[in-house]
């Protein structure tokens, strides 16, 4: 067990910075793009390690898997409408009821699994990170989000906008090696309809899903006495 612990520390403290810095030295001309990709991919590591260390009930694990599966199903079902996807709603709801790490995992795994269908690419780590962080933050804010519906909807809309803006940053960094502002503006403009639809769909799905799914999760939690993870 001890060896394992040291290995995970080594990963955290040595390998991650080494990969980031080494890559930055090798790919000098695309340094910023490399760093942003590495940071996106590696931001998942600490959350995953924290979650692995935490004592969790098998039931909570399976419920997170179920929420992930539902959000993938949602993304697949709404695939014909670009930008219209219920992923954020599921991620935020999971985070509200099972805590930030659970929300993070739901988001990151939804991106990963659904991209087995939609196609993997350099965008996968970004989607994982952004959806994951949406969940992590929602977990931190879980008590105000549960109290105020308006706040929840605003959070949904903002996370939709943030998702697009961050994805566009990556596009520009990759294309130009630096933040080429005209290209960024063009990317943001051209993805505006997508962003708008996405933000609206987040609000719509949260409006439709938050209460009934919350009720279902509450029911299951009380019926089977699953720990009040939402408090953390």
């Amino acid at each position: 067990m001890k060896v394992k612990k040291y290995v995970s520390f080594a990963v955290m403290l040595v390998i991650i910075p080494a990969v980031v810095i080494g890559g930055a030295l090798i790919f000098r001309e695309r340094q910023s793009a490399w760093i942003s990709l590495a940071v996106a991919a590696l931001s998942c590591v600490p959350v995953v390690i924290l979650y692995e260390k935490k004592e969790t009930d098998a039931r909570e694990l399976v419920l997170i898997a179920a929420m992930t599966a539902l959000s993938v199903v949602g993304r697949v079902l709404f695939a014909p409408l670009p930008g219209f996807k219920p992923v954020t709603a599921f991620v935020v709801i999971t985070a509200m009821y099972f805590g930030g790490e659970a929300g993070f995992l739901t988001g990151a795994l939804t991106a990963l699994i659904s991209n087995f269908t939609f196609g993997q690419g350099p965008w996968t780590p970004f989607q994982m990170a952004v959806w994951g962080l949406t969940g992590l933050l929602a977990g931190v804010l879980s008590s105000p989000l549960r109290r105020s519906r308006a706040l929840l909807l605003i959070y949904g809309a903002l996370s939709g906008v943030a998702f697009s803006l961050i994805m566009d940053i990556w596009t520009v960094l990759w294309a130009d090696g630096y933040l080429n502002f005209p290209r960024y503006a063009a990317a943001v403009l051209s993805s505006l309809p997508f962003t708008a639809v996405y933000a609206v769909s987040n609000v719509a799905f949260l409006l439709l899903l938050a209460r009934p799914i919350g009720k279902i999760l509450d029911r299951v939690k009380t019926k089977y006495g699953i720990g009040a993870a939402g408090k953390k």
């Binding site: 009720k215 029911r219 019926k223 006495g225």
Partner: protein
């Protein structure tokens, strides 16, 4: 050697008014094959879960359970997990992972078995259970029978000494179910694993069992070899009696109480030794009770342009006031037939008329106001948070006001005897109750054609009898009821006419007596037992009546 001893177990669920189990005691020797039976709610599942420590429900508990001489609560956790295996009713719930090989190795990984040993044990189990061909498949692509076999294999691979199975064949069709039972007996014979299987249908399992443990009202009513069931008196209540194999039922009804016959062959010997062959009784020609309700002519259907026909040139007529049973093997297209009649699927050629009107002429939801379908899994019709909500939803979607809907829903609940379930979540009900709730919901729409998909799946004898009563009530009111089913016994006992669906078409239609007595494979056990002695008898009740008449004549 004794492997399991249950000593004076009494158990009460929190908040319950009575004990789920009271003073249950029995013991099993290593290698024994025991069948645990009794009606729904007799405490079978509770007992099994108490033996499997990881699944023990919360509640008040007295008494002790010993596994290999050690109280279950004090067992080392690896022994408790690996030594006692548990298989649930629905294989879909038991499967955890997405690949067959991973499912097989899952338990071993949890036990911390080294990778090389897992490789060997998983390989061995896959070849013993015949799962090599699907070793790399996704678990979701397997058939129901294979799924349950996988559940059994993935428990057995942990080398348990005791296997607990909670109605393992309830969700399987008859062929898969007898294959599964055969496998179970092979495990007990060849590997010496002790087995306790809870079962509703005893026809397949009783002949291979060493022991029957019969429960009623939380007590052990009977505990002994199957043939001694004949000595059991005062247990004529349906839950046990109705579940016995046909041979045993006939023998018991005639008052012969020692060495109960269990198989068809023993049943034949029993009848042959007592009765002389008779001629078939005359049966009057069938008179339809009403006007044609469903007429299908030359109906063909396929799922995709390049797929084979599932239904091809199918024609049939079902009359109002008639209970019509469609029988057929797996994949014969039974569920598809119901889909086509209910308008969920569109036939690419042919004509279907409901109450004389072509289904294409029904607009909007009006077809489904006339034709209602109860799917194989009754829980699929529930969309509300409570049964009451669901029943009301059915009425409000038809434009009925909230208050009236509420009172009508309550009235319907009284009629179906589900008033005390109204405030429960539909999923918190037992299989039989769930079906009643689903039927209640369905019938609130007052359909005149009712389609039932495998209505007896997973039901015990008492629930089947209640279902038959409900169906009788419907046909008496002039509705046409069409059931597709594997359950030949149910069809023989209750249907007005039976039809065989084969290769996409109806190949024969007749009254149950004529239909089954002309079949030699696809027929009831009672018919096989009585063939050549009392020809034309297809139900246990029929055979028993003829036996009594013959005895009186002597």
């Amino acid at each position: 050697m004794e492997i399991l001893r249950v000593e004076d177990i009494t158990f009460r669920y929190p908040g319950a008014r009575s004990d789920a189990l009271s003073d249950v005691s029995f013991s099993l020797d290593e290698g024994e094959f025991a069948v645990l039976c009794g009606g729904t709610g007799c405490g079978k599942t509770t007992l099994l879960k108490l033996i499997k420590r990881e699944l023990s429900p919360f509640g008040e508990r007295r008494g002790e359970i010993y596994y290999g001489g050690v109280p279950v609560g004090l067992l080392d956790c690896r022994i408790a997990v690996g030594g006692i295996g548990y298989v649930t009713q629905d294989p879909d719930d038991g499967i955890v992972t997405d690949r067959v090989w991973h499912e097989l190795s899952f338990g071993l990984e949890n036990l911390g078995v080294p990778s090389d040993e897992i490789r060997r044990r998983v390989g061995e189990a896959a070849s013993y259970f015949g799962l090599e061909r699907c070793f790399n498949s996704r678990t979701d692509e397997l058939s129901g029978g294979l799924k349950q076999l996988l559940c059994l294999a993935s428990v057995t691979v942990m080398r348990p000494r005791l296997l607990l199975l909670d109605e393992p064949t309830a969700q399987l069709d008859p062929i898969a179910s007898s294959e599964f039972t055969a496998f179970l007996s092979r495990l007990s014979r060849e590997l010496g694993i002790t087995v306790i299987a809870a079962e509703h249908r005893l026809g397949d399992i009783l002949p291979v069992a060493d022991r029957v443990i019969l429960m009623g009202g939380g007590n052990v009513v009977f505990n002994g070899p199957p043939r001694d069931l004949g000595n059991l008196r005062g247990a004529e209540d349906l839950s046990v009696y109705g579940a016995l194999p046909a041979a045993s039922r006939i023998a018991r009804a005639l008052g012969d109480y020692d060495a109960l016959p269990l198989t068809v062959r023993e049943g034949r010997e029993f009848l042959e030794s007592r009765f002389a062959p008779e001629a078939a009784a005359e049966e009057p020609p069938y008179v339809p009770p009403g006007a044609p309700a469903v007429e299908a002519k030359g109906v063909s259907f396929r799922y995709g342009k390049n797929d084979p026909d599932v239904l091809s040139d199918l024609s049939m007529t079902v009359y109002g006031g008639e209970f019509f049973a469609v029988l057929g093997g797996n994949g014969a297209g039974k569920t598809t037939l119901l889909g086509v009649i209910s308008g969920l699927l569109n036939a690419y050629s042919g004509k279907i008329k409901i109450n004389g009107k072509n289904i294409r002429e029904y607009r909007g939801a009006s077809l489904n106001r006339t034709v209602a379908l109860l799917p194989q899994d009754p829980s699929t019709v529930f969309v509300g948070g409570t049964v009451r909500e669901d029943l009301c939803d059915m009425l409000t979607s038809r434009g009925i006001g909230k208050d009236e809907a509420l009172s009508r829903a309550e009235e319907a609940a009284r009629r179906f005897g589900i008033s005390d379930l109204l405030d429960r979540h539909p999923y918190d009900t037992s299989g039989g109750e769930r079906q009643k709730c689903a039927l209640a919901k369905l019938l609130l729409g007052t359909p005149s054609v009712i389609l039932l998909d495998e209505p007896t799946k997973g039901l015990d004898a008492a629930s089947k009898a209640e279902l038959a009563k409900t169906v009788r009530g419907l046909t008496a009111g002039g509705a046409a009821v069409i059931a597709v089913t594997h359950d030949v016994e149910f069809a023989a006992e209750h249907a007005d006419r039976c039809a065989l669906l084969f290769a996409g078409g109806i190949v024969s239609t007749d009254t149950p007596r004529r239909f089954f007595s002309e079949n030699s494979f696809y027929t009831t056990a009672a018919n096989r037992i009585a063939r050549g002695i009392f020809p034309g008898e297809v139900t246990c009740a029929g055979v028993i009546a003829r036996c009594r008449a013959a005895e009186a004549g002597k």
